[in-house]
């Protein structure tokens, strides 16, 4: 599961990374957002959205994406 801050919510961590990259000579970087990755083995993948909604993400402030 990839979990990231919702668009439009100030993401100071993303901004800090965005400022740091040019300092190392990496230009042309924008819209940096820092989220988190949750890796798991699951017997019933149909339960994943509920897992995200109830615990792994806070749907008020975060979007999630399920990859398999």
């Amino acid at each position: 599961m990839l979990i990231r801050p919702k668009a439009g919510i100030l993401d100071p961590q993303g901004q800090a990374v965005e400022r740091a990259l040019p300092a190392l000579g990496f230009g042309g970087v924008s819209h940096v957002h820092v989220g988190r990755l949750v890796e798991l083995d699951v017997e019933d993948p149909s339960k994943l959205p509920e897992m995200c909604e109830r615990l792994l993400a806070n749907p008020l402030i975060e979007d999630y994406e399920i990859q398999s």
Binding site: L10, P12, L55, L56, N58, I61
Partner: protein, 216 residues
Amino acid sequence: MKFGVVRFPGSCDEVDAMLACQRVGEAVILWHQDTDLQGVDAVIVPGGFSYGDYLRVGAIARFAPIMGEVERFARNGGLVLGICNGFQVLCEAGLLSGALLPNTSLRFVCRQVELEVVNASIPWTRACSVGDRLSIPAKHTTGRYWAPDPVLDELEADDHVVLRYAPGENFNGSARDIAGVCNAAGNVLGLMPHPEHAVDVLTGSVDGLKLIGAPA
């Protein structure tokens, strides 16, 4: 008045909360694995780093066995005060609107802050008047109150914003300077600053007792 103070693994302000409550009444610890509120009249969900703040602040504490009882207590009109991490837990539990995000500075900040009382009609603020200033310490990294604009409009229209940072005091970037909000019934209050650390002139302020002592 008997207060119950929740203790999660990683709580660190429950002892100060107990001592603050004991100035105005009795206090007992409510262990996170228990499901008995011991007949308390009010519950304090204290500050700290419950469950190591793993995953997201308050996210795991919200499912602790004691929290099921605290939620039931709150929904039946019981008095609940969430301080700092406790505020984060109550937001995660859906007892309060909104969420707490990292401070815009991304830094842990520990300082005395000036708060303004916006709503003095709930049990926790009835010892105050609207416009009163309270001097209370705050200490957190994840205290930027946020909710979508329509929710903020509703909170303001319904008088559920209880405390704001005074002008110039909003160090964490909270939306509309909000420091504390209550639920619709007014029995549940959450705030980021720590009233339990402002109960003795020795440490600079006794304004915290105005909140903690109000229901007693």
